[in-house]
Structure formats: structure tokens, C-alpha cells
């Protein structure tokens, strides 16, 4: 029993240790930010490594906490994401007074996600969800002096509290109709009576809120714009990824009996999300706000993928998230470096960027191409496999719709490339000195973007571990 605890719970334990270590450091005499961040990055790296040993599935606490290869892999993805983010925010945090607090919030939220992903029980799930959300609200407010930051935090905490109360209502009805909170038992009691359908929709709306699917997405743009770039990238990649993983596990494992219902639900939401996301992204100038809407559109494509409810669907989701981590974080990396060093966050500021910072421009370009889904970047494969999975159901309407929307998305991604390469600007952003570690992060991202696509082993591995309906 106990050794299982240490095996199955190893990543969570390591993370907790790291958090406590940080607390102790805080109590002790203050250290230089560099050393602290290096320590944290090392810890995260270690934690990432932990993911690769001893894979056997199992559960703890009477099935409250379950784990298997898939779940470990998902945790590893999130871990990788955090690592990259923390490397990128180096330039921002270098001279910041409250580094440790920042990391405390981030890591706690990550811990919450870990628990949420491997939850085997609605209670555990709820705990994980809140644990991952509340710290983020605080983190969103991390630029204490900025007006926007506090506004963003307020919007986040209020709307997430609202959504979680709705979610809870849904859970309570589920409980009421089934009498259990454990997934494995719950799935047996799901029979699609109106109450359960209602409960499911309430429950699902909670997820839709977190992954910012239309019409539950409205908080996204404001929060992304207001909060510090590091938090924004965390929200856009990590928390979305975590919630999506959980969603897929729940849909495929628990809500199997009402698959037809949620298939339809997913398709509708997907269509709306893609369209709205694209239309709003068209007219944004603030880079973070732009990425917010583009990420909404991306979620729409993801929903198309997971609506397949097949092994390929699950695999394509996992694969896409992996690529999305690389692509989106590469983009955010450039943006965070620029905003940390110059405070500029608008697309129009990037005019003539290529003249002064060719390397950064190429990184951003590759990232945007990957987001747009242009070969040979990995994004092409990611998006294509999502669509392929979606097409398997034979519902080509949504595929055509998505395909045409891809063209719109091309427009706004290429618009930025155009700004960087083609537009003239008398006062472009001056040449930037990028910290070595951020460079490393960008390199990792670019390498990931290029390799994960062409090298099919990645996808094949993901496919082998992922589970369909």
C-alpha cells in the first residue's frame, strides 16, 4: 500500500516537496532570484524525469486517485509546459521582489491539476479544479500596481466562482440521481433521463468555461490581456490542457451512455467556438488578447477532434496539446521577452520587427505558422489529425466549416508575419538582449515544433497509450 503511494503519487509528492522547500527558503534569508529560479527549474526537470519511470496503472484511496500511463504522460506534458514558461519568464522575474510567491501560486495550481487529472471521484475532481483555479486568480493579479491586472483577477475569480457554483449544482444533481460520486460506479447509473441530462449540461458548462468554449468564453480575452504574460501563457496552455484531459477522461469513461448527446453538444460548441474565436481574433491589436481569441478558435478545433470519441480522437487531442504547448509557448515566449524588456504588447509595435530582431521574428513566425497549421511545422499534423478524427464520424458539415475557418485564421496569423517582415516602421523595437535561458526555452519550443510533426514516433506512441470510447 504505502509503496504504491510513493509510486503512484510520486509527481505530486515531488511537487509538494518543492512547494514546501520554497516556503522554507522564503522564511530563510533571501537568495538571489537566479538561484531560486534555477532551483525551481531543476525541480521541475526532476519531476518531469519522474514521469518516465515505473508506468503501471493503479489507484489509491479507494479509487479516489487513479493513475496510468496516459495520465502520467498528461502530467508530464503540463510539467514540461510549466518548465518552459518558467524559463521564459526569466527576463520578467529577474528583478522581481516576489519570485517565490509567484512560483508558489503556479506550482500549487499545477498540483491541483495533477489531482484533477487523476481524480477518480467527483469530490477529488472538484478539489483539484478549485485548487488549480484559485491560485491562478491571485497570480493574475500579480502585477499589483497595474489597473488591468487587478481587473483581470476580479473578472477571473468572480466568473470562475460563478461557473464552479453551476458545476457544483450539476454535480449535486448527478449525485442526487445516482447516489455516488465515484466515476466507475457513476457511469453505471447514467441512463440519460432529463435530470441527468440537465445535470450533465450544468456539469459540462463548468468545463466549457475553463476551456473557454463559446458562449462560456467571455472572461478569457480580458483575463489574458490583463494578467502578466507568464500567467496568460499558463492559462492558455496548461490549465486548458489539464481541463481538456479531464474532460476527455470523463466523457469517454463516465458519460459513455449519453455519447450521442455530448457528441452533438461538442459539435455545436465547436462550430460556435471556431467562428466566434476567429471573428474576434481578426480585429485585435493587443498581442495577448489576440492570442486569447486565437486560442479560443484552437479549442474549437480540439472539440471537433474529441467529438470523434475514438482512440484516434483522444490521441489527436493529446498530440495537439503537446504541439500547442510548443507553438503557443514559443509565441508567448517572444511576446513575454518583448513586453518584459520594452513593455510593448501590441501587434502594431511589431512592425519592422524583422529588421532589428531577425531571430525572434523567425521564432514567432514559425510559432504562428504552427498555430495556423502550415507544414512542415507540427501544427499542420496536429490540426489535420484533429480534423481527420472528427471526419471519422462522417459528419463532413463540421469539417468543411472548420476547413473554411482555417482560411480566416490564416489571415490573422499571416497578418502578424506581414507586420514583422513587410510593414515599414520608423521606430521599430530596438535590438533586444535575450537571457540565455529564455533562448534555450525558445530553442526547445522551435525544435519541438519542427520535430514532433515529422517524427511520427511521437504520434504513434501517443496513439498507443491513449484510450478511446
Amino acid at each position: 500500500m504505502i509503496e504504491n503511494l510513493f509510486i503512484h503519487l510520486r509527481q505530486e509528492l515531488a511537487l509538494t516537496l518543492l512547494i514546501f522547500l520554497l516556503l522554507f527558503i522564503k522564511l530563510g534569508k533571501d537568495r538571489s532570484n537566479e538561484s531560486i529560479m534555477n532551483l525551481i527549474n531543476f525541480g521541475l526537470l526532476l519531476n518531469l524525469g519522474l514521469g518516465f519511470c515505473c508506468h503501471e496503472a493503479g489507484d489509491l484511496f479507494n479509487g479516489m486517485f487513479t493513475t496510468n500511463t496516459l495520465i502520467v504522460f498528461e502530467k508530464d506534458l503540463l510539467n514540461l509546459g510549466i518548465l518552459i514558461i518558467s524559463m521564459q519568464s526569466y527576463a520578467w522575474l529577474k528583478n522581481h521582489k516576489q519570485v517565490i510567491e509567484f512560483y508558489l501560486l503556479l506550482l500549487t495550481s499545477l498540483l491541483g491539476m495533477f489531482f484533477m487529472i487523476s481524480s477518480g471521484n467527483l469530490l477529488m475532481f472538484y478539489l483539484g479544479l478549485e485548487m488549480s483555479t484559485i491560485p491562478l486568480a491571485a497570480a493574475a493579479n500579480f502585477d499589483l500596481t497595474k489597473r488591468k491586472s487587478s481587473e483581470a483577477a476580479m473578472k477571473l475569480i468572480l466568473s470562475s466562482a460563478f461557473s464552479s457554483s453551476i458545476l457544483l449544482l450539476g454535480i449535486s444533481f448527478l449525485y442526487g440521481s445516482s447516489g455516488t460520486l465515484t466515476f466507475s460506479i457513476l457511469s453505471a447509473h447514467i441512463n440519460g433521463n432529463p435530470l441527468q441530462l440537465f445535470a450533465f449540461i450544468l456539469f459540462f458548462s463548468g468545463f466549457a468555461f475553463k476551456i473557454s468554449a463559446v458562449p462560456f468564453h467571455l472572461w478569457t480575452a480580458d483575463v489574458y490581456e490583463g494578467s502578466p504574460v507568464a500567467v496568460t501563457s499558463f492559462l492558455s496552455v496548461i490549465s486548458k490542457g489539464a481541463v481538456l484531459f479531464t474532460l476527455v477522461n470523463l466523457l469517454y469513461k463516465v458519460f459513455t451512455p449519453i455519447a450521442n448527446t455530448w457528441y452533438l453538444l461538442l459539435v455545436i460548441l465547436a462550430a460556435a467556438t471556431i467562428l466566434i474565436g476567429n471573428l474576434f481574433a481578426l480585429r485585435q491589436d493587443n498581442f495577448k488578447r489576440f492570442l486569447a481569441f486565437s486560442s479560443i478558435a484552437q479549442v474549437g478545433f480540439i472539440l471537433v477532434g474529441i467529438s470523434a470519441s475514438s482512440q484516434a480522437g483522444a490521441a489527436s487531442l493529446l498530440y495537439f496539446i503537446l504541439i500547442y504547448i510548443f507553438s503557443n509557448l514559443a509565441a508567448f515566449g517572444v511576446v513575454s521577452t518583448v513586453s518584459a524588456l520594452t513593455g510593448k504588447e501590441n501587434i502594431s509595435d511589431f512592425k519592422g520587427f524583422y529588421k532589428t530582431n531577425p531571430i525572434l521574428s523567425w521564432v514567432l513566425t514559425i510559432a504562428l505558422f504552427s498555430l495556423a497549421g502550415v507544414p512542415p511545422t507540427a501544427g499542420f499534423f496536429g490540426k489535420l489529425f484533429l480534423m481527420m478524427a472528427g471526419a471519422a464520424k462522417g459528419n463532413y458539415g463540421i469539417i468543411i466549416f472548420a476547413a473554411l475557418n482555417m482560411v480566416i485564421s490564416f489571415y490573422y496569423y499571416l497578418r502578424i508575419v506581414k507586420a514583422m517582415f513587410m510593414d515599414e516602421n520608423e521606430s521599430p523595437i530596438q535590438q533586444l538582449a535575450i537571457p540565455a535561458i529564455s533562448k534555450l526555452a525558445m530553442f526547445i519550443c522551435v525544435a519541438g515544433i519542427i520535430v514532433t510533426g515529422i517524427a511520427s514516433v511521437v504520434y504513434d506512441y501517443i496513439y498507443s497509450i491513449s484510450i478511446g470510447l
Partner: protein, 493 residues
């Protein structure tokens, strides 16, 4: 013979260009790579012909089939038949010429040559792949470089045209994607060979053929999806225009050909639409050209008209017309590339492309003018040049279709050769002949690299024009194979 080399050489060249320093090194590397590729293509041709002569009856030679995404039955399956080989030769010739023409490109030269090579890599990959997924992959690889090439190095309203081009081509490939999914989920494979063996249910064909065909049609400037052509070509830098008209539009034609071969019933059912659109494109393009005043616009619109012949040839669905379509692709590629090269040379000297502002260039720059005239004569289908062979083959083929409407289409398309003569001679008469303005009288003639490029392309044109039996000998067996499948169907009807 490992065809992957055809992708690896450009890849290697691109990487070396990234490492190189200074225009001198970069262009040398680029040229070397291109020449190596040309040599390789020639060598492939030799091996191919040897194999055929040795009685190898296989449809596709030098096949190699590795699994790429095992889980999704996506294979990296490559191999070539005569048609693909012809396209590869065309591409390699144009790449060499293009690099020669942009010999003195000093603005961001590294990126420029890198993108050129990348574009060519996409084309090679496209032509060798026998797996629809790989095909699609390389098709899109070839798109984005165009956007950057036009947007950064272009002229005029470049960003707008670049954006238009990229978006329309992407819309095209989105349509293609839908079509390919349809094929995939009804045959469980992307493999062209397998699909053509096991066939596709007719209903499926009827539904998905339009997507795939029109998608590729956008690339081939099929009416009414051609509007990216004029702006794109006009704004692009010389080499990019050459690549655009010489290579990328051929991607579309080739794709249409393959799709028609894969979905014969649908192709047969929809052939009247295809022919209608093609005929419109031919006539419409020709008349629109007649009204243009900018040399590049003239050539761009005439490309619409000429590519219409490709689609017409495919739509008529018989051996001769198919042959004609393929020859027209090669011929048009060489010819337009030559035309754009000449226009580029003129523009780089006179800094204007307006026909009205030019005149009597034959006096100042005899070589360039001669090249221009040769390109013009080829495009109005003069015997001895490739254009004649191609168009006549298409006509012959189309005429074999005894329905009155199809005959009418053929005659109308035939009428375009008169209009072609009109606009070519108008342009030539104004720009090349007539009195020369004094500031143009002192301009110099072509430099060695430009001469080399032009001569290379002209040689290609003449080889096809004077000895068409050579290319016929290369492509006919392959078109016969394609037609066998289609005729099986049409026989049933």
C-alpha cells in the same frame, strides 16, 4: 534510384544557404544545388527510360513505401510515372533558371534563396509522392514561401496580393483536404496505387470529387478561382513569378489529373462542368489579357487562358487530350517562366512594365527582345515551339469528343489562338518594335546569367517543339494507364 534524393538535395541546399555568408556564397550554393538537382533529374530520366526499354511494365518506377504514421495508415509512398517525371524535369529546369535570374538579389538574399529552394522542395515532393497525405503535405509546403517571397521582395501592392494569393491557395487546399478525408474514410488508405486498384464507391466520388478537383483547380487558376493569379504574378519578384507560373500552377494541374484518374466515374459525370469552366477560362483569360497594359499582367492573364487548356484536356477524358494536357503543363511552365524572365530583365533596366512607356527595345537590347519575341511566338502556338505541340494535341483530343457542345467548346478554345495572336503582337509591337525613347536607347543588354537562364528555357521549349515524339514517348504510356481506368468506366455508360 532512391527518389528521396530529390527532396534531400533541396533540403541540404536550403540548410547550407542558412549557414552561408554573403551573396556570393549563397547564390553559388543555390546554383550548385539546383544544377545537382537538374543532373539528378536527368539521371532519373535516363534510368527510367532504361527500365522502360528493358520492358518494365510497372506503372510507377523507383517505388519505395515506408509507413509514416502507422496508426493512421499514412505512408511515405513515393514513385514516378512518365507524367511525374516530366513535371520533375520541368521543375528542375525552372529552378536553375530562376536562381540564375535572381543572381544579383542583394536584399535579404539568404532568406530569398532559402525560400526559393524550399518552394522547389515542396514541388519535388508533391510530384514524387504516391500517397495523398504526402501529396497534400508537400502541396502546402509549397504555399507559404510564395507569401513571403511576394510580400517581402515584391513590387506594387505586394502585401495585398501576397495575402490574397496565400488565402485563396489555402482555401483551395482546405477543399482538397475535405476531399482527401472523404477518400480516406471510404477506402481506409491514402495510397494512390491501392485506391486506384480497389476503386471508390460512386456515390462517394460524386460527393467528394468537386472538393478535391476544385481545390486543385484553385491552384491551376480555374475560373472563377483565378483572381490570385494576376495580382500574385504581377507583384512577385521575377524568380518568384517564374516559380509561381512555372511550378505552382502545375501542382494544380497535376493534382486535377490525379484526382480525375482516382475518381473516374465522377470525372465522367462532371466532365461537362469542367469543360465549361475550362472553356470560359480560356476565352475569358484571352480577352482579359487583350485589355492589359502591364507586361506582367498580360502574361498572368494569358497564363489563365493557357492553363485553361490543361483543364480542358483533362476534362475531355481521352488519351490524346490527356497527353495534350500534360504537354501543355510542361510547355506552359517553360514558356511563362521564359516570359517572366524576359519581363524581369526589361523591368530591371527600364524600371517600368507599362507597355505604353516602352518601345523599340529591340534596338537597345536585342537579346532580351529576341527572348521576349520567342516567348511570345511560343505562347501564340507557333510550330517549332512547345506551345504548338501542346495546344494542337489538346485540340485533336477534344475534337474526338463527338458531342456538339464539346465541339463548340473546342472551337471556342481554338478561337483563343487568334486573340492570343492579337495581344502578343500588340505587346511586341509596342514594347519591342516601334521607335525607341532616348532614355531607353542607352540601356545594356542581358548579362551572362540572364542569357544562360533564357537559353536553358528556350532549349527546353525547342526540344519539345521540334521533337515532340520524345516527350510523347515519355508520357504516353502513363497517360494510357490512366485512361484505361477511365475508359473502363466510360465504356459502361
Amino acid at each position: 534510384m532512391n527518389l528521396t534524393l530529390l527532396i534531400l538535395i533541396p533540403l541540404l541546399t536550403a540548410l547550407l544557404i542558412l549557414l552561408a555568408k554573403g551573396l556570393q556564397q549563397i547564390r553559388t550554393i543555390g546554383l550548385t544545388g539546383a544544377l545537382a538537382q537538374l543532373g539528378l533529374a536527368g539521371w532519373t530520366l535516363k534510368l527510367y527510360l532504361d527500365q522502360k526499354a528493358a520492358g518494365n511494365k510497372a506503372t510507377y518506377l523507383f517505388e519505395s513505401n515506408q509507413s509514416w504514421f502507422k496508426a493512421l495508415h499514412i505512408n511515405y509512398h513515393i514513385g514516378i510515372d512518365g507524367i511525374a517525371l516530366a513535371m520533375i524535369l520541368l521543375t528542375s529546369v525552372i529552378v536553375v533558371a530562376g536562381i540564375l535570374v535572381s543572381w544579383t538579389m542583394d536584399k535579404l538574399s539568404k532568406e530569398y534563396f532559402f525560400l526559393l529552394v524550399l518552394l522547389s522542395m515542396g514541388a519535388y515532393g508533391f510530384f514524387i509522392s504516391l500517397d495523398l497525405f504526402t501529396l497534400f503535405f508537400f502541396l502546402e509546403v509549397a504555399v507559404i514561401p510564395k507569401f513571403l517571397l511576394i510580400g517581402i521582395w515584391g513590387s506594387g501592392d505586394k502585401t495585398k496580393s501576397a495575402m490574397k494569393l496565400a488565402l485563396m491557395l489555402m482555401a483551395g487546399s482546405a477543399l482538397v483536404m475535405v476531399g482527401l478525408f472523404g477518400v480516406y474514410y471510404n477506402t481506409n488508405t491514402f495510397d494512390i496505387v491501392q485506391i486506384s486498384q480497389q476503386g471508390i464507391p460512386v456515390g462517394v466520388q460524386k460527393f467528394f470529387f468537386p472538393f478535391a478537383f476544385l481545390g486543385f483547380g484553385v491552384f491551376a487558376a480555374l475560373f472563377p478561382f483565378h483572381t490570385w493569379v494576376p495580382d500574385g504574378h504581377a507583384s512577385a519578384p521575377t524568380a518568384a513569378s517564374m516559380f509561381l507560373a512555372g511550378i505552382s500552377m502545375k501542382l494544380g494541374g497535376y493534382g486535377c489529373l490525379r484526382i480525375a484518374a482516382l475518381m473516374p466515374e465522377a470525372a465522367h459525370a462532371y466532365s461537362w462542368i469542367i469543360i465549361l469552366l475550362a472553356t470560359i477560362a480560356i476565352i475569358y483569360g484571352a480577352f482579359a489579357t487583350m485589355m492589359q497594359t502591364d507586361l506582367k499582367y498580360i502574361n498572368a492573364y494569358s497564363s489563365i487562358s493557357h492553363c485553361g487548356f490543361v483543364i480542358l484536356g483533362i476534362g475531355m477524358l481521352n488519351k490524346t487530350s490527356m497527353n495534350g494536357a500534360v504537354i501543355q503543363m510542361v510547355s506552359h511552365g517553360l514558356m511563362t517562366a521564359l516570359f517572366f524572365a524576359a519581363i524581369g530583365m526589361i523591368y530591371s533596366r527600364t524600371h517600368t512594365r507599362m507597355v505604353a512607356q516602352l518601345g523599340g527595345l529591340l534596338k537597345a537590347m536585342p537579346f532580351i527582345s529576341t527572348v521576349f519575341v520567342i516567348a511570345g511566338l511560343c505562347s501564340l502556338g507557333l510550330p517549332g515551339f512547345s506551345g504548338f505541340v501542346a495546344e494542337m494535341t489538346v485540340f485533336m483530343g477534344s475534337w474526338q469528343n463527338p458531342e456538339a457542345a464539346y465541339r463548340l467548346a473546342t472551337i471556342l478554345s481554338g478561337a483563343s489562338i487568334v486573340v492570343t495572336a492579337v495581344y502578343i503582337l500588340r505587346a511586341t509591337g509596342r514594347a519591342i518594335m516601334g521607335p525607341i525613347s532616348e532614355e531607353h536607347a542607352l540601356l545594356g543588354d542581358a548579362s551572362w546569367n540572364e542569357k544562360l537562364a533564357a537559353i536553358l528555357l528556350i532549349t527546353g521549349i525547342l526540344i519539345i517543339g521540334l521533337a515532340p515524339f520524345l516527350i510523347n514517348h515519355l508520357i504516353m504510356p502513363s497517360t494510357d494507364v490512366i485512361m484505361l481506368q477511365i475508359e473502363k468506366i466510360t465504356a459502361l455508360k
